[in-house]
Amino acid sequence: MTQTAPRRRRKLTLRAKLLLAAVALALAATTTIGLLTEFAPPPGPEQPIAFSHRVHAGVNQIDCLFCHTAAERSTSAGLPSVERCMACHQYIAVRRPEIRKLADFWEKQQPIPWVRVHRLPDYVYFSHKRHVRAGVECQTCHGPVQQMEVVYQYAPLTMGWCLQCHQQPAATPVNVITGRTASPAEMARGASRAPLDCVTCHK
């Protein structure tokens, strides 16, 4: 028995090594998969009308606020009414199948049931007005919308992500695409005074 002990120990260590290797491999795999899924942008949902932000905001350079009129007045940016769409599209591209769909909604006087892309939990209060007026550009949170054929959620919209800006606002780019930081004027308007108090977003 006294000489069995060392043998046993070796066997054990060998097993242990194998075990460790397996565990390490598993860990590595999971983490990499996890990270990939975390940072890959989720695909945008299919919408009742294949509306292209690339065409509108990108190619045709239409200002975001032209359609999302409430963004600088209200907490929610608001969606354009069918009426507003028709304002242009009773003349423009009327024959395109997607525009036909739009026209149908207009005929039936029905709203378009767009599928929500950006959603915050009920206990989070976000004001578009405050951010727009502080000079934060839409792309900072919504990403390069002008390049998106189908809009997808660009930012994780997690608390930590919000805090990135709220913690050192002055240095934070108001446009992640161009990397432009807040101008003195914008700072004066409060771009650099992003609060960290919990009740700013949770009430």
Binding site: R9, T158, G160
Partner: protein
């Protein structure tokens, strides 16, 4: 009684590890069922909301926290008996300390459940742990509840390691006569113990070290737990004597629990030669002491309430003794301070029936003590407008409490069948050196 030899010790003690009889399995099955019931109740509570328990405003802490403190208390005597008495060379502790330590570990494991059960949103319990997170939020280190987290986890780790360390030689002994899965288990658990002199020297120094290391914890842990209350401003909680008072109480309840467990165990595993009446007498004597300390603490509380001239305190204590829940208070006084005095009579403290009854009642008394302090104090807060003194103890709470008791016993039962509940090593140390001619099996 036949004279004990090393081999006899091995045989008798290890006999307790042989394949169990029907009675054992039935017991285990019942306990498992009890645990399942508790689990179901907890599930209901999470599903429906904390409202299924008997809590309300002002009494927002009720049976769960009471039971938490109760189990933490139970946990204490284990370390006391094994570590402190070891340091004081109290030889009589030898046969009882193993079960006491096991009890400690399982009691902490049980106690640890309750803060979670008690949370309104148990699924967010991990927010109580300090870990870096994307919300960049940390727990509040000023909150006594957070101190609890550390106190209890530390205590669990140390007592668990202490228990395990003491077990190693015995496991090795068991290993050498076990077969099948047990052999594999012991082989792994004994960490290749061979019983060489170097191993023994390391072992004893390590054991000594842990004993020394665990001792202050006996004091610290329950002091921290008591601060959950003393740090608040609730009349009846906000008191400076709580720490020593709770520690004494903890040991009191712990001793009672050791006796409660050992008497049946002794019968069940036929350990009469090892657990002699003397050992129980010593425990009983110790209980007299702790009982008197606790009684003194009760007295002091009232004295302070009166002497401080604080009307809120005084009203709370008058309500505690003579209010609608006075009966609980008086029951606790009689059980915790009165009954242990019986042990002054040698005849009584040698009588197992009396020992068992008293120790069980003391356990009940100690639970009541915590309940009276926690729940009853809250009913008599600062603003009379919110006073509300009727309790509604619900079946969910009953189920969870019962479940936790089963959980504790289940762990103990399983342990008793897998590991020696009486320390082979130390029992042998107590024996005279065997003659060389005797063939020694296993370690020595």
């Amino acid at each position: 009684m036949p004279e004990l030899t090393y081999s006899r010790v091995n045989r008798d003690i290890l006999r307790t590890l042989e394949t169990p009889g029907r009675a054992y399995w039935i017991a285990v099955a019942l306990l498992a069922a009890g645990v399942a019931l508790g689990g179901y109740c907890w599930g209901t509570q999470i599903q429906t909301g904390m409202g299924v328990s008997g809590k309300f405003i002002p009494t927002a802490w009720f049976a769960y926290i009471t039971t938490f403190v109760f189990w933490v208390g139970i946990a204490h005597s284990g370390t006391l008996i094994s570590a402190i008495l070891f340091l004081f060379r109290a030889r009589w502790r030898t046969p009882v300390y193993r079960s006491a330590e096991a009890m400690t570990v399982f009691a902490v494991m049980t106690a640890g459940l309750f803060p979670l059960i008690h949370l309104g949103r148990a699924w967010q319990f991990y927010w109580l742990l300090p870990y870096p997170n994307e919300r960049q939020l940390w727990p509040n280190f000023r909150s006594p509840l957070l101190w609890d987290v550390f106190a209890v986890t530390t205590y669990f780790t140390v007592s668990a390691m202490f228990l395990y360390l003491g077990l190693i030689p015995d496991i090795a002994a068991a290993r050498d006569r076990a077969t099948g899965w047990r052999r594999r288990l012991y082989r792994l658990a004994s960490l290749g113990w061979r019983g060489t002199d170097t191993e023994w020297t390391h072992y004893s120094s390590a054991y000594m070290f842990f004993a020394a290391f665990a001792t202050p914890l006996v004091v610290s842990v329950h002091s921290v737990v008591s601060w959950d209350f003393t740090m608040s401003i609730v009349p009846g909680w906000h008191s400076t004597i709580f720490a020593p008072y709770f520690v004494a109480g903890a040991i009191h309840s712990g001793l009672a629990m050791v006796i409660t467990l050992l008497i049946p165990l002794r019968r069940l595993f036929r350990l009469e030669q090892f657990l002699e009446t003397l050992h129980f007498e010593q425990l009983a004597r110790l209980m007299i002491v702790t009982g008197l300390i606790v009684g003194y603490a009760y007295g002091v509380e009232f004295f302070v309430a009166w002497y401080s001239g604080n009307p809120f305190e005084l009203s709370t204590f008058l309500d505690r003794a003579f209010g609608p829940h006075g009966d609980l208070f008086w029951a606790m006084v009689v059980f915790n301070c009165g009954l242990p005095l019986l042990f002054f009579a040698p005849r009584l403290r040698r009588n197992y029936a009396v020992l068992l009854t008293v120790s069980v009642l003391v356990n009940v008394g100690m639970w009541l003590e915590r309940f009276v302090i926690i729940a009853v104090s809250l009913t008599n807060d600062y603003l009379p407008a919110i006073w509300r003194k009727t309790f509604h103890f619900t079946w969910v709470e009953a189920g969870i409490l019962f479940g936790s008791l089963c959980w504790f016993l289940l762990l103990f039962f399983l342990f008793a069948k897998i590991f020696p509940t009486v320390s082979i090593t130390e029992v042998k140390e107590a024996l005279p050196e065997p003659k060389r001619t005797v063939t020694v099996e296993g370690n020595a």
